[in-house]
């Protein structure tokens, strides 16, 4: 299933976070949950168009995948997407093994990899020159992990994940552009509206 060896990171097209996020959101028709990681990842999710099923992380760097895992376990019939940056994922590599062990089939993870901490001044991450995050994911037990070669391939992999037998991880090489929008920093409203979006609560 993995095509890591066939499509190494360096041969993939450099894409854009906002463009890919918009392509993902455009595909969602069934109130799928989307968890946006800290910083640019959730800024672009916000800019792609707010929906009640979006959750925006304003801190807790590295926890987009664990939060998404929790949603996926609580609602096995709902598709859950998680968008995470490469620097963030490096903080919580152990979570890949946890997800591989629990193997929720309704979870699709996207790693936005630009090799830098864009938001803090574009410093390279410790893994930028040497690490292959998709290979790390495969070695963590997430065998269905693949680099997207280009935008069309990304869309194809997203579609494919909808009927996958286990969790899917998609790596995308992205440019060094900052996020397009800025999420409104209101954690209580973000959480409450997300719970409405998940059908857990009714508005007051």
């Amino acid at each position: 299933m993995s095509t890591t060896n066939d499509t190494p990171a360096r041969n993939t097209q450099v894409m854009n976070r906002f463009d890919l996020t918009s392509r993902l959101i455009a595909k969602l028709k069934n109130e799928e949950a989307v968890i946006g990681g800290i910083g640019n990842t959730n800024f672009d999710l916000w800019a792609a168009g707010h929906r009640p099923q979006n959750f925006y992380m304003l801190g807790s760097m590295g926890l987009a995948f664990p939060i998404a895992l929790g949603v996926a376990l609580a609602q096995p019939d709902r598709r859950v997407f998680a968008l995470e940056g490469d620097g963030s994922l490096l903080m919580q590599l152990g979570s890949l093994s946890t997800i591989a062990t629990l193997a929720p089939k309704n979870l699709t993870m996207v790693v936005m990899d630009n090799g830098i901490y864009q938001i803090t001044g574009a410093q390279p991450t410790p893994g930028a020159a040497v690490a292959d995050l998709v290979a790390i994911a495969v070695a963590s037990g997430l065998t269905n992990s693949t680099w997207a070669a280009d935008e069309d391939d990304f869309e194809r992999l997203i579609e494919q994940s909808l009927s996958a037998a286990g969790p899917t991880l998609i790596g995308v090489r992205i440019d060094d552009k900052p996020g397009t929008g800025t999420t409104r920093r209101d954690p209580v409203q973000i959480r409450e509206r997300f719970m409405h979006g998940m059908g857990v609560r009714e508005p007051l």
Partner: protein, 184 residues
């Protein structure tokens, strides 16, 4: 011996600290229990795994477990995290940036190490950071020392966390659990 243990354990565990914790979680519909293990927590973890009511599993880090239960809460499932004192010491960022500002009823059971017979100086130091961190964030926390108070404190605290949408830390004292003795 294993068979004999299995036969007697449900009855004895009802009255043990870990039996009371398990039953209190169940009564409050707390189904998801990720943990980073601790020697003292072993019987609780074992019995959670043995009970199909619970989904319980190890995580690599405590903050990962906090992320998971935060997601589960927002998806409509109640959860609790088990950890040791030293694990709690890794949580200040996630408490201050996720659990508290997003109003997540994060329920934590912390097996207390570092006091009442600690043999590792580092453990005793890290233990001293726990309550100041909890207090600095104005978090609800209780140290449970007596078996006859355990059910009341745990049950009421879980209910309070859920209804007030605020985290709670339940610290399991060596006075309750026996702690980890100086043998290994």
């Amino acid at each position: 011996m294993a068979v004999a243990e299995e036969k007697t354990s449900p009855e004895t565990s009802e009255k043990s600290w870990h039996g009371i914790v398990l039953q209190t979680l169940k009564r409050n519909d707390v189904r998801l229990v990720p943990y980073v293990p601790d020697r003292v927590l072993t019987p609780l973890i074992k019995n959670l795994h043995a009970d199909p009511f619970f989904t319980t599993f190890a995580t690599a880090r405590e903050e990962e477990a906090v992320g998971i239960v935060s997601g589960a809460w927002m998806g409509g499932m109640r959860s609790a995290v088990l950890m040791q004192t030293s694990g709690f010491a890794t949580l200040a960022n996630v408490l201050a940036s996720l659990a508290i500002p997003y109003q997540i009823p994060l329920i934590m059971f912390v097996s207390e190490r570092g006091t009442l017979g600690e043999f590792n100086y580092g453990q005793s130091l890290v233990c001293r950071t726990m309550r100041p961190v909890l207090d600095s964030l104005a978090m609800e926390h209780h140290t449970i020392t007596r078996l006859d108070e355990l059910e009341f404190i745990a049950d009421r605290s879980i209910k309070q966390a859920v209804t007030t949408q605020a985290p709670v830390a339940l610290i399991l004292s060596p006075l309750l659990t026996g702690g980890k003795a100086f043998d290994k």
